[in-house]
Amino acid sequence: MSDLVRLTIEGRPVEAPAGTSVLEAAKLAGVLVPHYCYHPSLPVAGVCRMCLVEVEKSPKLAASCATPVAEGMVVHVESPQAKAARRAVLEFLLINHPLDCPICDQAGECELQDYVYQEGRATTRFADYAKRFNPVEDFGPDILYVPNRCILCTRCVRFMEHLAEHPVLNVSERGDRAYIGIFEGAALDHGWAGNVVDLCPVGSLVSKDFLHKARAWDLDKTPSICPGCTQGCNVTIETRDNQVLRVRPRPNPDLNRHFMCDYGRLGYGWLNRTDRIEAPLVRDGSRLVPVDWDRALGRALDLVRGARGPCVALVSPGASCEALERVAQLVGAGGGAGAFRVAKGDEIPLPGVPDLALRTERAPNVAGALAAGFTRDWDGAAARARSAALVLVLDEPLHGLGAAQAWGPMIYIGTVLPDEARGAAAVVLPSATMAEEDGTFRNIGGRIQPYHQARAAPGMARPAAWILEEILDALGVGVGAQA
């Protein structure tokens, strides 16, 4: 290919498309050039000067983030000159840095800490001088600014200006008096503002929600998909002691790049709910009594086998594709069908990234539900549920239907038990949340994305797909087939 440029980085031959920065080309060669201001999803600033490398035949060191590759270029990342320059940048950055790592949320995932440890000077030559001091500022609903830790990489400013297109942050003043500023009365309240906390390479922008909750190294991290809307942003669920403490975006260049919205980021509270159904329940007169899985599944099978006529399924578009497909299989065999409904809100796009928004439909698997054959005719399905031979509910809260709804015989599979089901369900089978199972969601663009188990399900709860598989296995066929 003609637009591939060949160069050598740290002695390794690399081929990179024309226009690639030396820093990105180095990644291709497996060499990470230390950097602060550079971020692959932001416009290049070239200001931290941490990424300086030596380019043969060039009189000065080059900022690798801002230098495009050129044919035949020979780059040294670890040459004495380049290392000396990096050491100097680190020393300059530490001049005014408080070194309050023991109380800093960023400790353990701080790029300043990491690089100083890797290649900084062992001693300070600035000990005799007072550090600059500015008080902590409240930047908005979830964000605090700790100016003393700031290294002015301007990632946050660039994010708000170029990605959010909502420039509420600025660099104020000049020289070493500079700091990140916000306007009197303004707040970092844009629907995607929380990303500045992730973008901050040090602990200068911190999340109030996460403040002093955990040390970074104590967190277990699990790749997942945000359940907040149909966008399907790739995320990491971070847990400690089986509690979800933080959800952060996981890079996906084709989808959410490095970002997620605040609705998704801060909406994880339900994953830690304590009012979960912890054991299978079967009806005994007016009561639901806890039983083991065999008895509960047995009762469910009886109901399924006994159903004479079409079933109705009321499902949640937050369930996995696997669970939804099995429900469809179960009810569809007998000519039954099902529907779902989904909570709605305002669409909040991130203008700087094409096709990225907090979507109006606030559930992760609407496309999965549709693909499995469920319809949006919720009212029709709810009406038919009165006369159905069997009602199968998959984690649907049934709000608004009222306890007074006269249901057909009901199997309720779900994480919590709504009042609407408490009086009606014949069998209640406790299921796992998306954080407690492996599964896939199909996003708004039809992309099927896996997510993984991040915490243990409470009590005897099981993934819905497992529960449904058990039933299908025992039947050998779909429900209603015997009729």
Partner: protein, 433 residues
């Protein structure tokens, strides 16, 4: 007001011919002195011929970098597919430099005429004259001249009736040395913080408003009308030393000389004569100690070095310094070098745009170390530390502001080390820091 000194016999007045002559400020006065004939002549030539003439003259940029002016103009696209811009750099903020101010306040039409010729050559329909905000007088004079030029039809959509659009707008700065750096200047015009930009792209490809742009210093442009009038070869012949440095140059001499002021001499003129002769030499009982020949950003010369320096680009480099903007700062033996170097470092710390780490933190730290030495609390290691920091502040940033801070510090310590050591050894402190 009046220009402080009559022309000295050793001067070669070309740009400064009408300094002190307030009649030359008006449009009619300028015309009476042959003004706008060059513009008329240029508009009758092809753009290539104009540029070629300037190339022939050997004129190099007078803003500090000394880049060949005609060559710079050839970098502009030949076909205009989007607007082209000319920026006139009248930010003149480099300590020691005050020549552009003289040009603007005595011969504003020379600037307008030169800029109009350049605008024609590079196909710029709009020219922005970026004048530092503090130059209230120069701004008023330039604005008046500009208004007159519009009224007289010299500028506008049909400049001089030749069917060429040449518009010109004064853009007032607001107090930032760094806006003299060409890409910072463009950002400032665009209504941004005056942050220098990363190059490439270079201004001729993507400059002001993302369009092809040329930036020239006031003095560079003011030299263009005489070149068009008398020919590039004539200008080129004005040369006392190296043939790569041609024409005349305005040197603004300041500091501890008897007759500070702006003097125009041929390239290659001896610095010794400029200081001791034209500028009147030292005050009674004083000896020359040091000279910064090209504005505060270039290495300091000792008296001996200065007296052996020829004032052109090559002559300065031969003595380990640079011609820069031609701001000659003279210091006699009453000057406390440590204090004045601290004062320069403080200047750069104040002016750093805050983008690059080395500059933002390095200029401030350098100043603090120097202040501590001045407080009598310095250590010998501090001098090595200063040299080490300066090395890391040189050639590592987007623009050369931090290099500019390092230059006087490094040369100062190398050449006047005894003064630094005296503070350190004695623990003596100066009263004012």
């Amino acid at each position: 007001m009046g220009y402080p000194h009559p022309t000295h016999p050793k001067e070669t007045p070309v740009l400064s011919r009408h300094f002190g002559d307030s009649d030359a400020r008006s449009f009619d006065g300028w015309k009476r002195r042959g003004g706008y004939a060059s513009l008329e002549k240029a508009l009758g030539m092809s753009r290539e011929q104009v540029t070629e003439e300037v190339k022939t003259s050997g004129l190099r940029g007078r803003g500090g970098a000394g880049f060949p002016c005609g060559l710079k103009w050839t970098f502009m696209p030949k076909q205009r597919t989007q607007p082209h811009y000319l920026c006139v750099n009248a930010d003149e903020s480099e300590p020691g430099t005050f020549k552009d101010r003289e040009i603007m306040r005595w011969t504003p039409h020379a600037v307008i005429e030169g800029a109009a010729i350049a605008a024609y050559a590079i196909q710029a329909e709009q020219t922005y004259v970026y004048i530092r905000g503090e130059f209230t007088e120069a701004i008023a004079i330039m604005q008046q001249a500009l208004d007159e030029a519009y009224i007289k039809g010299v500028l506008g959509i049909n400049a001089m009736g030749k069917g060429v659009r040449i518009d010109m707008t004064i853009h007032r700065g607001a107090g930032a040395y760094i806006c003299g750096e060409e890409t910072a200047l463009m950002n400032s015009i665009e209504g941004k913080r005056g942050n220098p930009r990363i190059r490439p792209p270079f201004p001729a490809a993507s400059g002001l408003f993302g369009c092809p742009t040329t930036i020239n210093n006031v003095e560079t442009l003011a030299a263009v009308p005489p070149i068009i009038e008398q020919g590039g070869a004539w200008y080129r012949a004005i040369c006392l030393s190296n043939p790569n440095s041609t024409g005349t140059k305005l040197f603004s001499v300041c500091g501890t000389v008897r007759s500070p002021g702006t003097y125009e001499v041929a390239m290659g003129f001896p610095l010794k004569d400029l200081v001791h002769d034209l500028a009147g030499g030292m005050r009674p009982g004083r000896r020359l100690k040091a000279v910064i020949p090209g504005g505060s950003s270039v290495p300091i010369l000792t008296a001996d070095e200065a007296e052996a320096t020829l004032l052109d680009y090559e002559g300065c480099v031969a003595r380990g310094t640079m011609l820069g903007s031609g701001g000659v700062i003279v210091m006699d033996d009453s000057v406390d070098m440590v204090y004045q170097i601290m004062r320069l470092a403080r200047f750069y710390a104040h002016e750093s745009c805050a983008q690059c780490t080395q500059c933002r933190e390095g200029t401030a730290w350098t100043t603090k170390i120097l202040q501590r030495i001045l407080h009598g609390q310095g250590k010998l290691e501090d001098l090595d530390l200063l040299l080490d920091l300066s090395e890391q502040m040189t050639g590592t940033t987007i623009c050369v502001l931090s290099d500019s801070c390092a230059a006087p510090v490094v040369s100062g310590i190398r050449k006047f080390r005894d003064e630094f050591e005296a503070y350190i050894d004695s623990g003596r402190a100066v009263a004012q820091v």
